[in-house]
């Protein structure tokens, strides 16, 4: 099912997080950031089944604790409120109180129980939230089901991002149209000053939160967990999926005859957002996609792919449009996965550079032209160990990565 959109799953032009029935969104300027929008909300007119995955960093920001508590209560939420400009991370007791207050004010504003509210923050670590600004901002949140509402939300969650990340897929379940819309932010896998990866996905599918959670966890491993910009993992990363059920299909589960198109729509949404994040990596000029076949397992294939795409040397070589396969085989060698040093194939785009671990003569000009003329650089590896396959995505390492991260805070 990897990346193959069956005819029943289509991408919707100008689709967004408000395309699925029941959802509205907004974004505004509260004053936490200097100028740009910094507070947003997604609202669902009914309590939505919810699933979420969080950063595996042992240091987790206060809003993650509060959101986990909300979701644990009933597996449903109705409102999700996000601020950018301040991560409310490493802020101790006061930070936790602030996150609770943010949830309470949002619950009052949207007139829903507190445990129907998720809160999340992204931005500077170690500084307290300007709660006066946040509170008066929350009171002004007016969500709409228009594209403008979705765009404003998307703007409000961005930090060092240079582009919006959004996508929407549709499919049929029980003959009813089901939409899945998503937005994301993130440009360093983390930049604890002003980054973090966040993604919010909405759908009108009818699905229980446990089933949704299982699908999200599996899909996250193959999409959001397969991208890397700099290998750092934020204290605030979070992916939340809300399902309103307003498509009125029979409740989805893996035994439902239309489970596959729904699963693919959700998977394509997450993969698209993940690739958009990788493409917008800090300072990136190109998206790198690594496809590994012939690994011991699918998991190992993903691990090898991620090691290659995470190598600063490979990333620098792509920036320099240098078909440097030595750096690729080197990353394969230290991936910690099962390999046979004598049976490795490596191709860069259309150019085969290594077959059975033996260098082959290839045209450096052709390889260079491929790397210069394409926005997405595809690296293909076959390990010839077994049948595991998997992909990972990243970006090249440019002067601008250093500029952005050396100069940001000061």
């Amino acid at each position: 099912m990897k990346g193959i959109a069956t005819p029943t799953v289509i991408e919707v032009d100008n689709g967004s997080i408000v395309s699925p029935q029941g959802f509205s969104a907004t974004g505004l300027y509260s004053g936490v950031k200097r100028k740009r929008l910094d507070l947003g909300a997604i609202y669902c007119e009914v309590p939505a089944s919810v699933a979420a995955v969080y950063t595996c960093n042992r240091i987790q920001a206060a809003p993650l604790k509060v959101t986990k508590e909300s979701i644990a209560t009933e597996g449903k939420i109705q409102a999700l409120v996000v601020n950018s400009g301040n991560a409310n991370a490493c802020t101790g007791k006061k930070g936790l109180e602030d996150a609770y207050q943010m949830r309470m004010e949002s619950a009052n504003h949207f007139q829903v129980p507190e445990h129907y509210v998720a809160v999340t923050s992204t931005g500077v670590i170690g500084e307290y939230l300007a709660m006066d600004k946040i509170v008066s901002g929350i009171k002004k949140l007016e969500t709409t089901s228009t594209l403008e509402g979705a765009e404003a939300f998307n703007q409000a969650i961005l930090t060092t991002d240079t582009m919006n990340k959004k996508v929407c897929y549709q499919t049929k379940v029980d003959g009813k149209t089901v939409s899945v819309g998503g937005v994301a932010k993130g440009s360093g896998m983390i930049n604890p000053n002003m980054a973090t990866m966040l993604s919010f996905v909405t759908t009108d599918a009818n699905i229980e939160s446990e089933v949704l959670q299982q699908a999200l966890s599996t899909i996250t491993n193959q999409t959001f967990n397969r991208i890397t910009v700099d290998g750092d993992t934020s204290t605030n990363d979070m992916v939340v999926v809300m399902a309103s059920g307003l498509a009125e299909n029979d409740s989805l589960s893996p035994t439902h005859p239309d489970w596959e198109p729904f699963y693919i729509a959700l998977q394509q949404t997450c993969e698209s957002l993940a690739k958009q994040i990788a493409r917008d990596g800090e300072g990136a000029t190109k998206l790198i996609e690594v496809q590994v076949n012939g690994a011991l397992t699918h998991d190992e294939a993903g691990k090898v792919a991620k090691k290659i795409v995470g190598s600063d040397l490979v990333k620098s070589a792509v920036y320099g449009t240098d078909a440097n396969w030595g750096r690729i085989i080197c990353a394969i060698g230290y991936s910690g996965c099962e390999i046979d040093p004598e049976t490795i194939d490596i191709g860069i785009g259309p150019v085969q550079t290594l077959v059975n671990s033996q260098p082959v003569t290839f045209s450096e000009e052709e390889a260079k032209a491929y790397m210069e003329n394409n926005e997405t650089i595809v690296i293909k590896v076959d390990l010839h160990v077994a049948d595991g396959s998997g992909k990972a995505w990243g970006c090249d390492l440019s002067y601008d990565y250093v500029r952005i991260n050396a100069g940001y805070r000061t």
Copy 2:
């Protein structure tokens, strides 16, 4: 014993790999590189006890296989021959034959059995060695016990390095002077075009190869394995220690009364070389030293320290002289080690920035001044979990790292 030179272990000005009795060295230009010296040898007038550690990359270059075979035969070698400019890695059968021929020609030239010869290569991956140049070069190797001989050897093993790395310590064992001299190369932890970490250490101590091997393995974990420039691990990394025994002390082992000064001399030699490599990381402007205390074990302390010093975001912040402790706590959080999110202290030089995981008010100016005015930036972390402590070393991430690695091969 970490880093504390007792009065009985002293650093020798202008000491080198030929300071220990019995050793001579040389370096010359064979034509593998465009201009600079590219072939070197260390010779010992007697068969020397030998210990070695190799890259943990599953892809290992041909000369590593040949050298392992030499050492396995008797645990002794007399000659070590190195070329730079070509790594003889991923070169298949022909590469292995070339490495054997390099060993055979060296054995003939130095008139020793083949298994008394170690060979090693560093440079471009995936190209065959120009054996005509290597063979005629080997025939011209004339080692001397002068500082010039040692310097020529050091020049011959360099690639993208911008400075020589060498050190020599002396101590007393059984009342006799024992010297330990070392050289190293490496500036990306790997740059498969023209890098790799190599280190060669000589001593006139009398010690069996098994005992030496055990000491080297332990010490390597705390020194060479605690540095990172870019997290990549070469196919060619190798550390070799040769012990001539000509100091004529009683054979050393941990029960020998003078074991500790010898061990410290060897450890200081390796630590000094490791730090010199980190300081000369590609594009580096500063050495970063991270000291972690209060970890569950010494190993975990080292692991946390290495995660911090390996974070591109921390490295960029040091380059930008930004006391960005948020990036440090973030790396601690994803280190995979036992931590308590509520009990972490972080200091940058003299400036305490976090106590018990609570941000403390500090002077940004003082922190910035510290980072601007020092060549070595010390980051101190206390986890307050248990008593494990350990250090790691790295360098900042500058525009030049990208320039060197994007533009090198082409």
